[in-house]
């Protein structure tokens, strides 16, 4: 399978693709020999499985894929994928992965991170990676809890969350990762769910095709410390009345019969109203490629802690120069203008401007 097969004209530019006729890769090609160590029923299993099943589609040999993570249950991810991988320190994966991407255009670089890792301690690196638009695919496992440290509330936990560190309920309001990403100039932002393999895979495909940073928020269940956080989105019927599936060019709707539609309502953002009450021309159409992220942002605001509504899918997908490409281009331009880097070139560099020579005396 080649790049173009999955409509990936730029995401993997510069990454060597498997030669025609090479033995096809499969899920096993991306499965390491390490025992998987998550709690029974953890949503991370489904995420791992979806990614392992998707990666062969890239048509990239496992050795050209790198997965960098921070610390957290979710950050154990790299151990299980048979690529190059680094389980780094808490919150720093985007920075480290930026170093990998800048140094090596021939690698497909992924980041695995959790809501605590990415949005609490690692918040700064995350927003800067998105602003710069580094060639990174970031999988943000959002279980609205610190799993690894045994269940403290996280920056995505709804206000009032009772945990060991907040016995009378958390006081602060959560981040909406999609809003934050859009406020940080992200060029690709999507939301999906651990349990929806099909949708997840579609999002992965689009992310891989994207040049620059792709942030994928994955709603993930932690059965041990925050079980059922997303149950209403997983139950088929309750999901139907809550999830707005975003599709490029399509109307933004919700309901089994798409009977509720999204309309722009002046100063108060997007409203959801019965189709019967909507002027057809005013029903929103989703346009992830819009240069202006405002409508995507408005869609992210439909989300509320009670999950009465939530949009899923690709909020934004626009093309913009990637940081590492730009950095490389400057170096390449300087190099090709200056000629080969050999001993003479280095000596000239060191000599700088004024020099003087002292002869043998």
């Amino acid at each position: 399978m080649t790049l173009t097969d999955i409509g990936m004209p730029h995401g993997l530019d510069l990454v060597p693709r498997l030669p025609e006729g090479a033995a096809p890769l499969n899920r096993k090609s991306f499965t390491s020999d390490q025992e998987v160590r998550w709690c029974p029923g953890c949503g991370d299993y489904a995420i791992l499985s979806a990614v392992q099943s998707f990666l062969p589609e890239l048509g990239v040999a496992p050795e050209n894929v790198v997965v960098v993570s921070g610390i957290g249950c979710s950050s154990r991810f790299p151990y299980y994928v048979d690529t190059y991988g680094m389980h780094s320190i808490h919150g720093r994966a985007p920075a480290i992965a930026t170093g990998v991407a800048v140094a090596r255009p021939d690698l497909s670089v992924w980041v695995a991170t959790g809501d605590g890792d990415a949005l609490s301690i690692g918040g700064n690196h995350l927003i800067h990676a998105m602003r710069r638009n580094v060639n990174l695919k970031i999988l943000l496992f959002n279980n609205e809890i610190y799993g690894l440290t045994k269940g403290q509330y996280s920056p995505t936990s709804p206000t009032g969350t009772v945990t060991k560190s907040t016995p009378t309920g958390s006081v602060d309001r959560p981040f909406n990762p999609v809003s934050l990403a859009l406020g940080s100039e992200a060029t690709f932002v999507a939301r999906t769910m651990d349990s929806d393999r099909k949708h997840f895979t579609e999002v992965l495909r689009a992310a891989a095709a994207h040049r620059g940073t792709a942030l994928i928020e994955i709603l993930q269940n932690c059965p041990i410390f925050n079980d059922g956080a997303y149950d209403v989105l997983k139950d088929r019927t309750s999901a139907q009345s809550r999830i707005l599936w975003l599709e490029a060019g399509e109307e933004v709707t919700v309901g089994a019969e798409k009977e509720t539609v999204a309309v722009w309502s002046g100063g108060s953002g997007i409203n959801l109203i019965p189709r019967s009450e909507a002027e057809p021309a005013l029903i929103l159409h989703h346009d992830p490629a819009a240069a202006d992220p405002s409508q995507a942002f408005a869609l992210s605001r439909l989300d509320d802690p009670a999950l009465s509504h939530i949009a899923m899918g690709i909020f934004r997908q626009v093309s913009a120069p990637a940081y590492d490409d730009g950095v490389r281009a400057q170096v390449d331009a300087a190099r090709s203008a200056a000629g080969p880097v050999d001993d003479a070139a280095m000596e000239k560099l060191l000599a700088g401007g004024d020099t003087w020579t002292v002869g043998e005396s």
Binding site: G85, H128, V341, W356
Partner: protein
């Protein structure tokens, strides 16, 4: 007809003025001219911390001292023979450092009542006789400059701004230097602004001519070229030399240099210098903070580049967690700490040596790294190169300590040729290095080189060698996560042994003990090299029997260090901190070394050190 010329063996000149007066540039230019002329030299820029202080205040004084000589010198000099004072603040701030008989050139135009008042001069010191023990040349530098530029089509303010070139011209005349190299410099700098260029050139010439014609100056001086080892030389600051050393090491290793850095005084110029080296393939990332800076560097090293990060003390404090990760990952990484006055924000533009123990111990757990220090501005090149060699050879983070004094100071640098530099061998793994129990070949990412104890550097993209590493304790050989007590014990000791083993690859501590009969050893590290060497020379002139050694490697120490320490009755360790090297030496060798410390944000004066040394020898002979 020229005025008579008098020969001098050396001179120390200090240019001092307001931050806006261009003293750093003036000093730099004089330095370049002296360098090209062939003097040995050393410089000491000294500028206000951080923000521009109000004009004309003591806090706003910026100075640049340079020492030129016809022989080998080690320091920018303790006391200026000449002070150029562009205003009362500059005079007041610097007068205390002048020995009697020194020359003062002052701009009378700036000695207005208002300006005098700003710095608390009740009367004009140029007029009240208080400077009678100096040799004062009071002249209207500003008005002379403006006059000389009467016809120039620029504002009065712009004309005034050229007064530093007038001063430079005068000094060039005073020390019998041609103006042409400065003229070339100005031409390239102001090429796009012809009026400004013309004004600066005219001011320079006017200053020069003023010396030649004014009756105020009866003689001028000449400091002959110093004998130097054959070669091509340039003048270089420590920060520039560090940048060159890093880039050169990467080149010699066939590696791409990736710098991840966040600006901080006094380290920013290394970033600036490397950012301008794209033509030799250097990549720089100005990161969002220090942690990201080292993260980028570590990611780059992981990917097969030479990852480097540069900072100063407060930034190193932020990077420590990531240095610890690099210790566990056992990847090459160079961390440059240009030390400044601390603690906390401290004295950002001043120098100090107080980060040695932070470099040594500032991480959780048993987390050894190699540490080396540069000893002079030009030596920053070799020290940076050596840091890269150790990092690459031993797969370890290396902390390179320089400081504010080295960073901004400059001296002549004999340019190395690429051929004379050693190779760096990254030796990336390309094949499995181990076999599984069932006989299939595998990569064992923590199987070590038996000599260096380095683990393989196996970079992404290498087929068949995919593996995962991380900050949790790893199993010996396989590198898998491992929580077992015995394995942890083994790995902790292996990491320590690897770093200790670097001693095998470094040159022994070299002692300068000309007659071999000294009983006192002066042992230093880092930027005190010059002041100590000068002080020892001075002390010897006074008859003191004293030996001298200087540590480049602070961790591990050279193998013979203990032996050297024990062969002297007394060991004095001068440091610009409260005794950090002394602590390490005492702990390791149980030798009762004597600390001599000063924490003043300034390099040692060699004359003061010489007294200390003489006293130490006398005390012993009592």
């Amino acid at each position: 007809m020229s005025k008579p010329t008098q020969q001098l063996d050396q001179v120390v000149i200090r240019f001092a003025g307001d931050s806006g007066d261009g003293m750093q540039l003036t000093g730099d230019r004089f330095t370049s001219d002296a360098a090209v002329f062939g003097n040995d030299l050393a410089t000491l820029p000294n500028y206000p911390a951080e923000i521009r202080a109000p004009q004309g205040t003591i806090l706003g004084v910026s100075s640049f001292q340079l020492h030129i000589a016809d022989h080998h010198i080690q320091t920018p000099g303790d006391a200026p023979n000449v002070l150029v004072a562009m205003n009362p603040a500059a005079l007041k701030a610097n007068l205390g450092d002048l020995p009697r008989g020194a020359m003062i050139i002052a701009d009378t135009d700036e000695f207005s009542t208002r300006n005098l008042g700003k710095v608390g001069y009740a009367a004009n010191p140029l007029a009240d006789g208080s400077l009678s023990s100096y040799h004062v040349h009071a002249l209207g530098l500003t008005s002379l400059t403006v006059e000389a530029l009467a016809d120039a089509e620029i504002t009065r303010k712009e004309k005034e701004r050229a007064k530093n070139m007038f001063a430079l011209g005068l000094l060039l005349w005073l020390y019998s230097r041609p103006t042409d190299s400065t003229e070339r410099f100005l031409t390239s700098k102001f090429g796009k602004k012809p009026e400004v260029l013309a004004a600066n050139l005219a001011a320079l010439k006017a200053g020069y001519n003023y010396g030649e014609t004014s009756e105020d100056f009866a003689v001028h001086y000449e400091v002959a070229a110093a004998p130097m080892r054959a070669g091509t030389y340039r003048n270089v600051t420590g920060n520039a030399a560090t940048a060159y050393g890093l880039a050169t090491a990467a080149y010699k290793g066939g590696l791409r240099l990736v710098l991840g850095s966040y600006p901080i005084t006094p380290a920013s110029e290394i970033l600036h210098n490397l950012a301008a080296m794209k033509r030799v393939g250097v990549t720089t990332v100005q990161a969002e903070d220090e942690i990201a800076g080292i993260g980028v560097a570590l990611g780059a090293s992981y990917a097969g580049a030479l990852g480097v990060t540069t900072t100063s003390g407060p930034g190193l404090a932020l990077k420590t967690e990531t240095v610890g990760l690099a210790v566990t990952l056992e990847l090459p990484l160079v961390v440059v700490d240009v030390q400044r006055g601390g603690p906390s924000t401290g004295l950002p533009t001043k120098t100090e040596q107080a980060d040695l123990l932070q470099a040594m111990f500032g991480r959780n757990g048993e987390s050894p790294v190699a540490i080396i220090a540069a000893q002079s501005p030009a030596d920053c090149f070799s020290a940076a190169f050596e840091a890269c060699r150790i990092a690459v050879t031993y797969r370890t983070p290396v902390i390179l300590l320089t400081d504010g004094y080295l960073a901004n100071g400059s001296e002549p640098w004999r340019l190395p040729t690429m051929a004379e530099l050693p190779e760096l061998v990254p030796a990336f793994t390309t094949e499995p290095n181990h076999t599984k129990t069932d006989g299939t070949p595998m990569l064992a990412p923590y199987k070590r080189d038996p000599v260096t104890l380095a683990r393989p550097w196996t970079i992404p993209g290498t087929p068949g060698l995919q593996h995962r590493i991380g900050g949790i304790e790893k199993a010996d050989i396989t590198g898998e996560i491992n929580y077992e007590p015995d394995n942890h014990e083994k790995m902790v000791r292996l990491r320590q042994a690897k770093v200790d083993g670097i001693a095998a690859s470094i040159t022994p501590l070299d002692v300068d003990d000309p007659d071999g009969d000294a009983e006192v050893l002066i042992l230093g590290w880092g930027s005190t090299y010059g002041p100590i060497a000068a002080a020892v020379a001075e002390a010897r002139k006074e008859g003191a029997k004293v030996a001298r050694a200087h540590l480049r490697h602070l961790n591990p120490f050279p193998a013979n260090t203990g032996e050297v320490l024990r062969s002297y009755a007394k060991v004095v360790v001068p440091e610009m901190n409260l005794g950090q090297l002394a602590l390490l030496l005492r702990a390791k060798y149980l030798v009762d070394v004597t600390s001599h410390t000063a924490v003043r944000g300034l390099p040692f004066r060699s004359s003061e050190l010489a007294e200390v040394i003489v006293a130490a020898t006398k005390e012993l002979s009592k």
